[in-house]
């Protein structure tokens, strides 16, 4: 509709309160300035939430599924869909608004984003709240809201199968929540193919708050490109680069699981609720062990030559689990972080979390926190509803996972995350409540990795290991999450040229390295303005005391700890380099003008 090449120019708006379904044109300058995916989602979020403090679980909060200009084209690894909304899990230390929270975005691979673009949409925006549990079916132009009550409470693996049965065509690509999302656990995930998740930042909780169980999409069209010949040539170069890339080959070998042992050896692993950076039993849950004992297949997302996902079946006491993993994040957060070294037990926990629709990272972090509080005698077994939550206990972990998803007993409090738990438990437990702005940290430990500390502290969605360790990386990754391309292949430096050329050929807008970076900077600054308006300040970019006080006691980085003064100086430099006020973190007027945001914010 916008007539811009590379796009349909159409966002599908579905209001579940009124049942109104509407195709809205995207302003061409929004596509130029914010590209798609995360960036365009942020712009829509800013436009829709005109005032700060909107309750993230209110009908007003939009839940957006955002592919990018690469989606639906056979560009290698262009499989990502970014889910954008206002976070139900973050909060500032001080704010005038009781429901203040950050932006939230979570990114997943698979086939959903490409299929959305086949169906003719650059995004789906869900608002409102259905009276009863419902699902949405999109078949090209035809969009329907249907009753989903019979699927109420269904776990994601069973639902994935049953839903396709209901739809009657395997070509439908689907996203859905599990019981956790229906129960409004703040760190619920959205699942796709029963094994891929938009896990972080509570996107599944927002979906649950809309009484939306699932979305199915099927399409027959395709977006256009601005320069067909240039597109084909750049596509050829991108394919060739990845065919010969040692990095791509390594990802195909073990996916991210190879990092489980590597990171432990480097002292950068999350171990024992972030107390240590090395896990002596890492080899038991690492890539080599999984390859030997579990995996049978490599699985790839749409048009991806990396195939970093590995599926298999486990044997033994916790055996019989047919699922993918461990990956680095899932294997570490449920493995080394909890001192679990039983591979089938670990995979059972991973499977159950996906099945219930819980974020693997936040849940692993929460259980690690509880294990430490229990060990320290700050909470007793009664507090834990009788669960003997000792380090390394698979049974206790599995029991706690069920409690959290159901918000049953101790699960009601644990479902709120480590910040809420520490507040209730007190006794100095906030020191090891490992979150930033309310979102739990991931499987990258930081006592020996100060650059990653910056990533966690400054990420706009709360603690994020992927936002980038410096300004340049942050800007770049904000665009990556906006074009639909996966982060992993871009670790191959030779992909940069074909990637920029592809983006230019598709959109007809010339992207060199500088323009790409500036686009990312614009997106980050809009996110920062959103958070600033909610009341987030420099004191919210804080890290838990553990990282400054508890030096590692084992491993190659024994003795490593962050220096508070150095960290503060690093933050100050970061804000200044960003053109933000180092006292408040507010983006300066000249920076906003430079990025063309002055007329927007």
């Amino acid at each position: 509709m916008s007539g811009k090449p590379g796009y349909h120019g159409v966002i599908l708006n579905i209001d579940l309160s009124s049942g109104k379904i509407e195709k809205r044109e995207v302003a061409p300058q929004d596509l130029d300035n914010f590209v798609g995916g995360q960036g365009l989602g942020m712009k829509i979020l800013w436009d829709r939430l005109k005032k700060p403090g909107v309750d993230p679980l209110s009908p007003e909060n939009p839940l957006m599924f955002m592919p990018g200009p690469f989606s639906g084209l056979p560009v290698p690894s262009s499989s990502r869909t970014c889910v954008v909304t206002k976070s139900p899990i973050t909060s500032p230390l001080k704010s005038d608004y009781p429901h203040a929270s950050t932006v939230s975005y979570s990114n997943m691979g698979g086939f959903f984003g490409p299929e959305m673009r086949f169906a003719g949409y650059d995004g789906i925006v869900i608002t409102g709240k259905a009276k009863e549990l419902c699902y949405v079916v999109i078949d090209d132009d035809r969009v329907e809201i249907r009753d989903a009550r019979k699927f109420k409470g269904m776990r994601t693996d069973a639902f994935d199968k049953a839903f396709l049965g209901e739809l009657g065509d395997r070509r439908y690509k689907t996203v859905y929540i599990g019981p956790a999302g229906e129960n409004l656990v703040p760190y619920s995930s959205i699942l796709h193919t029963a094994g891929r998740a938009a896990g972080r930042g509570g996107v599944g909780c927002v979906m649950g708050s809309k009484n939306l169980k699932a979305i199915a999409v099927r399409g027959s069209g395709q977006p256009s490109v601005a320069d067909h010949t240039r597109f084909l040539a750049a596509l050829e170069r991108a394919r060739t680069v990845l065919k010969t890339s040692p990095f791509a080959k390594a990802m195909a070998e073990q996916g991210t699981a190879s990092a489980i042992v590597r990171s432990s050896n480097a002292g950068t692993e999350t171990v024992r609720n972030f107390r240590e950076g090395t896990f002596p039993q890492a080899d038991k849950i690492g890539g080599d062990a999984a390859k030997r004992d579990v995996w049978v297949r490599d699985i790839a997302c749409y048009c991806c030559p990396l195939a970093c996902k590995k599926s298999g079946i486990t044997k033994g006491k916790y055996g019989g689990v047919v699922h993918d993993g461990p990956e680095y994040e899932t294997g570490v957060m449920l493995g080394s972080n909890l001192l679990i070294s039983d591979m089938p037990g670990l995979l059972k926990a991973i499977y159950n979390l996906d099945d219930l629709g819980l974020d693997q990272i936040s849940t692993g972090n929460v259980i690690g926190f509880l294990m430490e509080a229990y060990e320290k005698g700050m909470i007793d077994r009664k507090f834990l509803d009788g669960i003997d939550l000792r380090w390394g206990s698979v049974d206790a972990t599995l029991a706690m996972i069920e409690k959290i998803a159901a918000r049953d007993g101790v699960g009601e409090l644990a479902a709120k995350g480590v910040a809420a738990l520490a507040q209730r438990i007190g006794q100095g437990s906030e020191k090891f409540a490992i979150h930033v702005k309310g979102l739990e940290l991931a499987a990258h430990n930081i006592q020996a990795n100060q650059p990653r500390a910056l990533s966690y502290a400054t990420a706009e969605r709360g603690a994020c290991h992927l936002s980038g360790d410096d300004i340049a990386t942050q800007n770049k990754r904000a665009v990556l999450d906006s074009i639909g391309l996966c982060l992993f292949p871009t670790f191959e430096p030779a992909l940069e040229e074909p990637m920029l050329s592809l983006l230019s050929a598709i959109t007809g807008r010339e992207y060199d390295r500088a323009e790409f970076a500036k686009t990312g900077e614009r997106i980050v600054n809009l996110e920062k303005m959103f958070n600033y308006r909610e009341g987030f300040r420099r004191e919210d970019d804080r890290l838990p005391d553990r990282f400054f006080e508890d030096a590692f006691t084992i491993g190659p980085k024994k003795g490593a700890v962050l220096d508070r003064k150095e960290f503060d100086l690093m933050l100050t430099k970061y804000y200044k380099d960003r053109g933000w006020d180092p006292e408040t973190t507010k983006p300066g007027a000249s920076k906003l003008k430079e990025l063309g945001l002055d007329s927007i914010v």
Partner: protein, 241 residues
Amino acid sequence: MNRGKEETRGPDERTSFTRREFIKGVGIGGGAIVLLGQFGVHAAAWALSGDPVLKMIVVHYAKCTGCRTCEAACSSRNRPASVAGRELPGLGNPRYANIRVHSFNPDVDVPNVCAMCADTPCVKACPVEPAPKTGRRALYRDQASHTIRNDTGRCIGCRSCAKACATQRTGVISPNPATGKPERICTLCGGDPQCVKRCPFEALSYVEVRRDRKFYGLEPEKIAAELARNWYGTADFGGLK
């Protein structure tokens, strides 16, 4: 990579395969089973012995990752774009691909492509009177490439070929929703199949097989069930058949 946990067998055992054992580890072209991969040259020689050969697309299921690059590559060639009067490869809309990857839960992916069946149930089902000169019905086997082709001028869009394919073989033939005329039949891209060329995982090959081979044309669901049983010990794909 985890190219399937295939059972290792020596070439000596090549004559004692059961149908199910074939499916476990080796390739099935559009559902047609041939001997490849770890079975080595001895097995390949056995497969080729005696009979006239036919070149076709063969899938190594243990290598397929379900990425669907084959769909995009096929569509790009067989659905070209017209740009400023020039015919160029298209953008690869998978809806127009002649190969289609069927994906299942648990993780099994089955690329489905024309099996080029020796006994052509699709052609036999075509009710159009054979032309006196060529003996061809609307649907016919091209003698040079051995591919199945449709003479759209004579085709009446009755969907009989698609029905025959669906009930007896892979079900790859799709009638055009508007005209009823058959689509999705492999063209072999004039002898340079793009799906084979572009597969990042070497899961597809363009090889010679015996024309009188015994097994062919299994529907994707049946192949998926065999694979899932072998890999995961289950073949419960839920409600959808």
